[in-house]
Amino acid sequence: MLRFAIRRLLLALAVGFTVSLAAFLALQLATDPAQAIAGEDAEPAVVEQIRIEYGLDRPLVTQYVDWIGNVVQGNFGESFYWHQSVADLILQAAPTTLKLATFSILVTILVAIPLGALAAMRPNSWVDRLALSVSVSAQAIPNFWLGLVVIVIFSVHLGWFPVAGDRTLAHFVLPAFVLGMTSVPAVMRLTRAGLLEAFEADYIRTARAKGFRGYPLLKKQALRNAMLPVISVLAVQLGNKLGGAIITEAVFSMRGLGRLAVDSIQGGDIPTVQMLVFVFAMTFVLLTFIADLINAWIDPRLRLR
């Protein structure tokens, strides 16, 4: 088990470094960080001074290798753009995104799983059809557009929620809803399919022969089996939400990791982007690891590994 955990950690590190290398190269080639730091009306000498100050005149390989060395030593570097340590920046922005991701995954779970379960209990009924329509629609609605529409309706016209920002919990309601809806189709379909499959399974027939019917059958026999793929997908979705809150944060003017990432890209702030990508990738791999652990807890067959 410990060995397995260490292997996964190494994998996460490897993936993190690979992926951040991609980000590093892409950004180095695309923008001039020194120019970005200097701003719109900056004079060239200022830019040159900045370039030397931040070591941007060194060869790319040196820059990247130095960076890895630093990260391994726990030094995440200094942001060019924000004049702060990258670690601080990420720690400041993380709570917003974490909250957003958590709330939105809660939305997903609260909408998708009951809906999927109801649909599976009565395939081809109106509930099933409703669930299917919800999933088809949610899959087709561009979520940035949905964000705009809910702002117009709920914030401006009805005035129920604040328009933009992330100061209070109320600020999170709409974005969490919008972001949460994006994962509803996948999770709902998997729940439904998983339960249907479980209901077809031999052990459910056994349970029915023992006298199980209805809700207890769902809860005590089928659910646990059906949840395996759902949990894996939820982990992936949560990972995507951490990395992919970009659009939602943009629409709702929230200042989380997504926003930090966009600003840093636009500002050519390579250390921050690199570290963000690294953190996202690590988180993603670790989330799948956690999902595997949960799955192993649910399904003893997976514990053999």
């Binding site: 027939r205 349970a207 029915r208 023992k210 006298g211």
Partner: protein
């Protein structure tokens, strides 16, 4: 038999299914039977005859698109037709009726412990306390022969072997001391030796606890170990019922007669009479039947069979569904016993002198499996130091339990699997020295699963002609010619030339596979369980076909099977494998009459022959 209060009375039970496309299917068409307390009833019949359906109907486990109709369905004095499903679940299911299913691997919930699953049966709806249930679980596990029961309670299904799981299933069915126990093919998925143990256990328990038992199986031999009475189902209804011995001794219905004849018998010496195959296959339940369901395949068919479906008639203790009289049927059967026998294939001289066509010398095969990107690897020694030689013109059989390495051995001989150590020899030379094409012209395989051995996107003609294409033989027209020729050789009508595999039955597909194997005119066929996916009547057809082909084409066979009866009937030499090793080999008759290895002896002891009891 207690005439007054039968334990179970089923009258005119029918099931109608509505398929998604809106068509109506009737897998059960008026089933009648009675079961007294303490009696064991066996139900046999080929796949799709409706055995499982009738059991599921009893337990209210039918799929949601099924409708159940019956004149009467009574457990004791409880009318099962009248009670609500919730009441049924609370009072009957798992309490008064226990049920055992076929697949021990999947019938237990993989995510809960054995203990939890046993105990919940007895505590559901407040049936009993957890403590009492636990005690009973331990006691029952002990009784069904699960060692260290207390330890098992905390184990998960996947930690037990198939046999142990089936024992747990039995214990679970017994948790609430049911009056009736229904076992639907409880042993089909198990290895031969374990199969016999489980059946014996069921028989013991049934008589010991005085329960009623219904034992469903397609294997007549298996049923004969454990029941008193037997019913034979065909196309959704009983065609014959009666006490076991009577039915086996003088079967009345032509179908019963056919079934008994087409089962190869391990107790008879090699080279017995030809199997009496029943031609054709089971009718589809989609047809509305306005005539005798068996009329398509019946040797005695005449005009009276077409008017309407014959009713069940009784003769002595037996009942049968045929327009003919019992005496006539009886005499026909006795007569056919001699008359219908086709002379057994003339023995072909086995060539021993030359180097063997195919051989393995101290071959081993180790599979290394690794889970995930960084998982640990595990070695599995599938075949361990096996030497085997296949000579021209012989029929060599490999038998052994599941996972003993039979298929792997065959794959090494075919060149599909590289031995980890040791060599495979093709006519005395290392296999690698010849190209796959050269080998293909001499050796061809026939696989177990007729569904996966054909590319679903190719028509039959295409599949059969494919080897010719690969070998660049002939042109389009000549290949078609050749394919049709081979099709007629294996008994496939020309009209199948443009059919797709999904339009054919298993037996027909297996014929296509054989045709494809023969199209390059090889000398050796390696048949890996060629009949184990098929019904017994179709198995007989295929075995007969293989024998015919051998006679005509002078083929050599390597036959892999776990069916001892088939081996004795078919093979000239036999190799017994266990855990990747050869434990015994020799002439078939020698091995069957004087087994030396304890495992072989155990195997032979587990044979159940329906006719041996009566003979």
């Amino acid at each position: 038999m207690n005439e007054h209060a039968p334990l179970l009375r089923v009258e005119n039970l029918s099931i109608t299914l509505k398929t998604p496309s809106g068509e109506q299917v009737q897998p059960l068409r008026g089933v009648n039977f009675e079961l007294s307390r303490g009696e064991a009833l066996g139900i046999v019949g080929e796949s799709g005859s409706g055995k499982s359906m009738s059991m599921l109907a009893l337990m209210g486990l039918l799929p949601s698109n099924a409708r159940r109709d019956a004149d009467s369905l009574k457990l004791g004095d409880k009318d099962l037709l009248q009670i609500e499903d919730t009441t049924f679940a609370r009072e009957i299911a798992g309490k008064r009726i226990g049920m055992i299913f076929q697949e021990p691997m999947t019938s237990l919930n993989p995510v809960y412990t054995i203990g939890r699953q046993l105990i919940e049966t007895a505590t559901l709806y407040g049936r009993g306390t957890a403590r009492a249930a636990r005690a009973r679980a331990i006691e029952l596990l002990n009784r069904v022969g699960v060692p260290e029961p207390e330890l098992r309670l905390d184990q998960y299904p996947h930690q037990l072997s198939g046999g142990l799981r089936q024992r747990v299933m039995i214990a679970m069915a017994l948790m609430n001391e049911p009056e009736l126990i229904i076992a639907d093919e409880p042993t089909t998925a198990l290895d031969v030796t374990i199969k016999a143990q489980i059946l014996d256990l069921l028989a013991d328990l049934q008589s010991e606890l005085g329960m009623g038992m219904i034992l469903v199986s397609h294997d007549i031999g298996a049923v004969s170990r454990a029941v008193d009475r037997i019913g034979v189902m065909y196309a959704g209804a009983f065609v014959e019922k009666g006490p076991l011995d009577d039915v086996f001794e003088h079967p009345l219905h032509p179908y019963t007669q056919g079934l008994l004849q087409c089962a190869p018998r391990a107790t008879l010496a090699h080279g017995g009479p030809r199997l009496g195959a029943i031609p054709g296959s089971v009718p589809s339940p989609f047809k509305r039947l306005t005539r005798c369901a068996f009329s398509d395949r019946c040797p005695h068919v005449h005009d009276a069979c077409y008017g309407s479906e014959p009713a069940l008639r009784s003769a002595g203790n037996q009942a049968y569904r045929c327009v003919l009289d019992a005496e006539q049927l009886q005499s026909d059967n006795d007569h056919s016993d001699k008359g219908v026998v086709i002379p057994h294939a003339t023995p072909v001289q086995v060539e021993h002198g030359d180097p063997p066509v195919l051989a393995l010398e101290s071959a081993s095969c180790v599979f290394t499996t690794r889970r995930g990107l960084l998982g640990r690897s595990k070695d599995n020694r599938a075949v361990d130091d096996v030497s085997i030689a296949l000579h021209g013109n012989e029929i060599l059989a490999i038998v052994g339990e599941s996972g003993s390495g039979k298929t792997t051995t065959a794959r090494m001989m075919l060149g599909l699997q590289q031995p980890t150590s040791g060599v495979a020899l093709f006519r005395g030379e290392a296999l690698e020295k010849s190209t796959p094409r050269q080998r293909a012209q001499l050796i061809q395989p026939v696989f177990q699963d007729p569904y996966s051995s054909l590319n679903p996107l190719r028509t039959v003609g295409d599949s059969i002609g494919r080897p010719l294409v690969v070998h660049g033989v002939g042109n389009r027209a000549s290949r078609r010619e050749r394919a049709l020729e081979i099709m007629s050789l294996v008994g496939l009508p020309e009209r199948f030339y443009n059919s797709y595999p999904n339009q054919m039955s298993g037996g027909q597909r297996q014929r296509v596979a054989i045709a494809r194997a023969l199209v390059l005119e090889p000398k050796v066929l390696i048949c890996d369980e060629p009949t184990s996916a098929l019904d017994i009547s179709v198995q007989a057809q295929i075995l007969n076909l293989l024998l015919d082909l051998r006679e005509r084409l002078g083929l050599t066979y390597l036959l892999i099977t776990h069916d001892l009866a088939v081996v004795r009937y078919f093979a000239t030499r036999v190799v017994v494998m266990k855990s990747g090793q050869i434990v015994e080999s020799g002439e078939t008759e020698r091995v069957y009459t004087q087994p030396t290895h304890p495992y072989t002896q155990e195997l032979l002891a587990s044979i159940s022959d329906p006719l041996r009891r009566s003979a």
